[in-house]
Symmetry: D3
Subunit: 238 residues, 6 copies
């Protein structure tokens, strides 16, 4: 079966990671999953939030946002609305948890890293592109801290990448663009470490439900996809 963009069901879209896309940020990259473009920037600062103070441990957190016209029709800015929506909250939290899974907080010491993931253009998979790109920004920031003798050893225990999978017209598929995403019966985001273990699985039946065989088919696709994304990350960081 061939998809509207002529990929096969187990193909990723064109993946491009441009490290150091901008000047500021202790680490940053522009990551593209096809037409989806996310600018991921790591800000490394000394000190931790008050509730971590004195623990000897660091903190890693993330903020996700979309430009108002990242999508086909314009959305109102959350700053203008005066509050952050549920979807933004949810994705920011997911990115933060995914990255913390590969950071040894005691090796980070009492330092904080904020990952800003700003979607410049959205065509499905913005949260998985954000996680995959944020890892690259994080790794660059850690390198910066090592180079600047702020850290003496890397707090990274592994790498992490994420991909979406879904069942569209009854067929399990990898890395859904918007067009497929809205038609998907089931939609799943899978976050996997470089060594192939799960960090997070979020599967949702959008229309109907899904059974265990479908779940397994989706997980197979996701594990193959994240393994390839891990390669792209390695190249970008080489």
């Amino acid at each position: 079966m061939t998809r509207h963009d002529s990929r096969s069901v187990d193909d990723l879209r064109d993946i491009r990671i441009t490290p150091n896309w901008q000047d500021a940020g202790e680490g940053n990259c522009l990551i593209e999953f096809g037409r989806t473009k996310v600018l991921c920037t790591a800000s490394f600062t000394e000190g931790v939030p008050r509730w971590k103070s004195g623990s000897g441990e660091g903190w890693v957190t993330a903020e996700y946002a979309m430009l108002p016209r990242a999508t086909d029709s314009r959305s109102a800015r959350e700053s203008v609305k005066g509050k952050i929506g549920g979807r933004t909250h949810e994705i920011s939290r997911l990115i933060g948890r995914s990255l913390r899974a590969v950071v040894d907080m005691s090796k980070l010491g009492e330092n904080s890293i904020v990952l800003d993931c700003d979607v410049l253009q959205a065509d499905g998979g913005t949260r998985t592109a954000s996680i995959t790109g944020a890892y690259v920004a994080l790794a660059l920031a850690v390198e910066w801290a090592l180079d600047n003798k702020i850290l003496t050893e890397s707090p990274l225990t592994d790498s992490v990448a994420a991909v979406s999978v879904g069942i569209v017209d009854g067929t399990p598929m990898l890395d859904l663009p918007y067009e497929e995403d809205v038609r998907a019966e089931t939609d799943m985001n899978v976050v996997v470490t470089g060594s192939g273990s799960f960090v997070e699985i979020q599967g949702t039946a959008e229309d109907g439900t899904f059974d265990r065989d479908e779940l397994n088919a989706l997980l197979d696709l996701a594990l193959a996809g994240t393994a390839r994304l891990t390669e792209f990350q390695k190249e970008a960081l080489a």
Copy 2:
């Protein structure tokens, strides 16, 4: 292996569902998963949000909240803080999606049902108790609408229940109270229909990662647990 509350690893806590616990609400129940108590109330109103208007279809949504002293130490009210936190947003959205999975929106007609899930006492599993109780409130509200000739046939296509599972000290376990939840290496919430299909799977490695065998063990526990919760729902609605 026996747990601190002397349950075996595949036991649910004491489950109690009290339908019509309060007077108002087209359907409501108090649901208890051990010491966790959630008041679930369905409000049925004519009309739908503007973006659904004219579609001939209904809408089901949910709002989750916790009393300030539902937990061991007091939390500030979100109304006082002037905004809803990320966790609240995330859970409200999960409950809404889970219930919509078993509602045929065209049979609901242009009517709305809001499910309020207010946690009176929290001891882990508040989101899964909320989904399980909200289904009961929803079913009671549908019954009310049928009795009052507002609906002519039930829009419910199945029932839905949810349970938490997790790996604690290396052992997969069912229905975690707070004490186990904080110690869990992996934590998963599974939403399943009465006929045993998945609606939503959210698994998170809290400490380390998890592999496919562990995932399968957790899903087995969850499917057994939700099957028993489905029985409790049936009794409550009988």
Copy 3:
């Protein structure tokens, strides 16, 4: 004259106070005035707000809120609206003032007690039930602090209870449920100590005005009513 619920004009509704209704909270009770149910919880914490710091004195405050479907039709949550309404503010302040009237702040030391009054079901008189129940929660929290040697002597100087009175169809009546409250020409909330002195009187002409004789008739009813509520409090605390 007999009322719709067959009480006489100077009868209270069925009053029920269930101390320790929930697990958390240094003191708590569920109080019922007929169909009105309020969960009152006292949170005792060391330390005082900044403006009291160093004074050697403690602080007592209260927060009142209603569940969205405590009433016949659903109200939007104040957390969702992003601000607290005038009525909520007004009642929270009234409860706080009423309780502070019976606390010797220097005997409390630099400790704070927050009283949360959450209305689970509303049928008129929610603010007077809140004050009456909050006193019980407060007294239990003080007992807890004495038992735990956090306080060496009780800072309570008296007990406090409150009741609503009003003129309905020209007749002064005690303890109005919603049905009578909306029809009342004059509505008064009276807060009285266990020894029978006034703490607060708030009388409002809802339709027309009221004269001094009517005021006196209402105060007579209120004093008799609060005396009986004081008895219920004593029993609950026995």
Copy 4:
């Protein structure tokens, strides 16, 4: 007994009402109770809030605010804080209720009058000065509407005025300035119509409690005081 400003206990402070103090507003006055100065402005507009629409009835409401340096030390602006405080809410609601007590809403037709009471200088009694001045602004706006044939008959059923009374050092006194207000054991605001009936009584024990005799002494003072304020209102409107 003589007070620090050499008034006797039953004296009002110097009362001055300047109608048409500013150009805008269908009615307005500057009212002074001693050093307390409040600008009261009535805005008359066609139409009513949505929930009154189609009722044939009008609506009267009020908004109270203080300039940041109306008081001895500067307070942060509520606009800057992003929310209205409990005290502001409470007073705005009190002013609105007090004025609605003397308006026949059906004679007002579907028109709205907003009373803005902005405290330019505060020395105690700002809420009672606001009510007394707002009535003058309201009466001028009604006159304007009659002159402009927007109304054919006056919707005013009476006049309304308010005064504070309190027990200071054991002595009941009329019209407390800030200096006495902070020392008062009991504090009461009384709203009375031109014909001498009560609209609202709000009595609070600030330190200790009060008994029925004290209440009666305070009410006597208040009724005498509001009768004199009614005279000042008449002169201002003459």
Copy 5:
């Protein structure tokens, strides 16, 4: 050419500055530019915002606001809307910058002065009246601080005043009231020190554009106008 209020094009409106118009505030005045009335109050407090702490320097800032019925039709309060509008922000910042231009922050020491400019009545030119009046309030506060030995030498390096100019029906004019302001093709606010140097120029083409000759004509008018305002300030402070 004569204007609707019979001024010539280079005439100011009637300017009146009443120092010490109210009791509170270390310095204050009511300033009137024709029918525009602004109450300007300086609050002098020890200490500086955190980001200035330890610098040995002071801080001067301003807050501008309008009463809801300062204008012909009522505007909603920003406190009620829960946020400050862009225009308010812009003007507050302009006033602050203008005053800081004549203050030597090191001579002020670690003290803060907040200038509150509250528009009681608006008829065009509220921001220029605010700057001109705020300077008077500031100078009075400095005098107060010198009198009270809080400062040992004046931190004021010059005086500052502001005026609006504009091109109305093709003619450059000084000090526009609302009626001219809305018809102006070009509108300019000019802030000038007592010694005749520019602090700020904000010129905007409201309808069409303006060329360099027009700019020069407007600046000539503005410099003459601010010179006269400087005289009024001197008199008020004499």
Copy 6:
């Protein structure tokens, strides 16, 4: 005199305008003034804000924002803070006014164009780059509307561009990067049409004041600079 980046005082930085940098938006470009990068996107929608409805005229507005790490140190997001700051408000308003100066609203019909200017990287001059780029996005959107027969004639009456000028170490200079901007004694933003007329002049003395000769020198530089920017805009649109 040569600057730190070896430009002469009347040189612009490297200007680059990339039209259609992203897929969405009826017109968009990435504009670069040296290291300053702004993404400008025009969203064309049918309909106008309510207050313009029925006027037969269109509306053009703008929203400016910065990514949190556009600058050297990270700023908190305005969406997270829950409100828009004064600087953001001020710049958004300036961009909107500048563009409206070259649009004939009646030729636009009842259509709206929103210009989003998102600063991806900031090195001084973000507001002038925004205006210059927003004009290109606007012109592309107008072209789109003409191509799609939504408009029959162009509502653009001219082009518009903006540049910053300032006095640094006593020398007037064109197009200041951040390094010069913070050291500038006087700072001016000048908005000029393609035909060389002024739309807006905003000059501020940041340290000291400025006189008329300095003003003239700055305006000469600005007019030469905007003339060159107009050429860049023409090329980008060719």
